[in-house]
């Protein structure tokens, strides 16, 4: 079986080369802003620029807002579908697949046409309205991932028994959702949240077409005007993505399980 391992090694090494070389090249490029010597000046230029800080904070805020709105929409829906209205499941699942079918550029094009200044709900009229629209667009983009994360979380706990126990103790539906169900699926919720953040933080298309000062738009501007700073930005955003995904892996170890496992 020696031969058998050789092909696997060859493929693995070729794959590793394809994926690691660009990372290595980017790091190397980001360090070579001074001729003949390695320096972190490109990073310093990026990190010290006020636009970097402002746009990153802006995108983080919009991301957090999208996570909160997304959870307020998804958790009750997933809970009721699982507990009392399984007939609605196909409808909900179809809806959560829509953002995968409709490209973001189409979605934002539709928003611009529907919610422009001459429409019934003129969201693009004010800065606040456009921020709301951007947040809702991100909720839509993250919907498939958020729904799947929450639904997976609900599957690992015994929703029915928890609900009945809380009912007997006199809790109403809002209390049950906020103080019984939510804490039990917090790990799943957080992994959905981090995935949302990873998708949203560097998003360019929607933010750019809505003229918002987001991190993705800033990165595009730097890319068009600078040589070495874009590489530094690429490294920084790779680290952000890695951190978000790493958090998900880490969280998976702490998932509580109250459902009796039958397998």
């Amino acid at each position: 079986m020696k031969r058998n391992r050789a092909w696997a090694w060859i493929i693995f090494i070729l794959g590793a080369a394809y994926f690691l070389l660009p990372l290595f090249a980017t790091i190397q490029f980001s360090l070579s802003i001074r001729r003949g010597t390695l320096s972190f000046d490109a990073y310093a230029n990026v990190l010290e620029s006020p636009e970097f800080q402002q746009t990153l904070v802006y995108s983080l805020l919009i991301g957090v807002a999208a996570i909160v709105v997304g959870l307020l929409l998804v958790v009750p829906a997933a809970y009721f579908v699982r507990l009392r209205a399984p007939q609605l499941r196909p409808v909900i699942e179809f809806v959560t697949l829509l953002p995968l079918i409709i490209p973001p550029i189409i979605l934002v094009f539709g928003y611009i046409r529907m919610y422009n200044s001459s429409s019934i709900l003129p969201l693009t009229n004010s800065g606040l309205g456009t921020n709301v629209l951007l947040t809702l667009a991100y909720v839509a983009l993250a919907l498939p991932y958020m729904y799947r994360a929450v639904d997976t979380g609900l599957r690992t706990i015994d929703v029915q028994t928890l609900t009945e126990a809380a009912n007997i103790l006199g809790a109403n539906t809002v209390t049950i959702l906020a103080r019984v169900i939510f804490p039990n699926i917090i790990v799943a919720v957080l992994s959905g949240a981090f995935l949302t953040l990873a998708i949203v933080i560097g998003e360019f298309t929607v933010a750019s077409l809505l003229n918002r000062p987001a991190f993705g738009v800033y990165m595009q501007n730097v890319g068009a005007n600078r040589a070495f700073e874009p590489a530094a930005l690429a490294v920084i955003s790779f680290i952000i993505t890695w951190a978000a995904m790493g958090m998900i892996q880490l969280l998976a170890r702490f998932a509580p399980r109250t459902a009796v496992l039958t397998d």
């Binding site: 998804v74 029915q160 560097g202 890319g223 068009a224 039958t262 397998d263």
Partner: protein, 312 residues
């Protein structure tokens, strides 16, 4: 889902109204659903209607109207101009190429890490990395490839100084069909690995052993057992990767500005400044994109439901 229903307390022990309705198998979707339940699902559905369905339908419908609000098919006919046809053609070629290549490379890597008897840690490392890389798209990805294969990129310079081979003089250009395809593979291959790994896990060891006992060579095993089982998954993922590449814009935009006229970039320019001088034509362009990605996704969904039978 199934693991839950087994553990549910019998309905007789439940509070009178809760849970009982759903088990009676009523005919219409909403019968037996309580008001509180509808209130719980309603915000989600209202959001979906207002911010997913209506905006998309609005575009689809406005593709059929002219500036004065009259019904017309002219917008769709205008998609036939050389510029637009050309952009659809480039988009489809890049999407097909990156999907096919991503599919093949992803399959090989997944096979190598799952069935190639590599050291234990490699599999989980590759899967984690795939999760990161499949989300590492957009603007930063373009920057990474400019630093790698751009005119001053590391690989370009290495090829030139070490091998005396100038890839740009040989006809390569990062801002071209091939450049874009190679770049897109950076998120296509990991996505393929993530999707196909469970399917490869589903190929049971017993099947390999049974085939080997019957005297099958590895080639015969893959030709008559392995690939036929993976086939629906491969086709399904192929269409998913196609749609994934077809709708992507940020990477291409940061890479090429507007020099490479793929459909999303043309649409982007149209939204920004009505470069086609006709709002209806923009909507028709959007309709074209929706039809193509929807077709690809329908193929994926249909094939996936059929493929799941084998992987229980």
């Amino acid at each position: 889902m199934s693991s839950n229903t087994d553990t549910v307390v019998p309905n007789s022990a439940a509070p009178a109204s809760a849970g009982a309705a759903s088990s009676r198998g009523l005919s219409t979707p909403l019968a037996g659903v309580r008001w509180a339940d509808i209130l719980g699902v309603a915000p989600f559905l209202v959001f979906a209607v207002l911010f997913l369905i209506i905006p998309t339908l609005y575009l689809v419908v406005s593709a059929f109207f002219d500036r004065n609000g009259g019904f017309t098919l002219q917008n769709l006919l205008d998609l036939g101009t050389p510029q637009i046809l050309n952009s659809f053609w480039i988009s489809i070629r890049v999407s097909v190429a990156s999907a096919v290549f991503g599919c093949l490379a992803g399959l090989l890597i997944a096979l190598a890490i799952i069935r190639g008897r590599l050291p234990a840690g490699i599999r989980s490392t590759v899967m984690t990395f795939s999760g990161v890389a499949s989300n590492f798209a957009g603007i930063p990805l373009a920057f990474a490839f400019i630093a790698t294969l751009g005119r001053l990129g590391l690989m370009t310079v290495l090829f030139r100084t070490l091998l005396g081979f100038d890839i740009y003089r040989a006809g390569f250009n990062l801002l071209s069909f091939w450049g874009l395809t190679i770049t897109y593979c950076y998120f296509q291959i990991p996505l393929m690995i993530l999707i196909i790994a469970p399917a490869i896990d589903g190929l049971r060891r017993e099947w390999t052993e049974a085939a080997a006992t019957l005297g099958a060579t590895p080639y015969q095993f893959w030709r008559f057992v392995g690939l036929p089982i993976l086939w629906p998954n491969l086709l399904g993922t192929l269409s998913l990767l196609f749609a994934n590449a077809f709708g992507a814009i940020a990477t291409a935009y940061a890479l090429t500005g507007s020099s490479l006229n793929i459909v999303p970039i043309l649409l982007y320019a149209q939204i920004r400044g009505d470069v086609l001088n006709n709002p209806g034509l923009g909507a028709a362009l959007a309709l074209g994109m929706i039809v193509i990605t929807a077709l690809a996704n329908v193929v994926y969904l249909v094939i996936r439901t059929r493929a799941e039978r084998w992987l229980k």
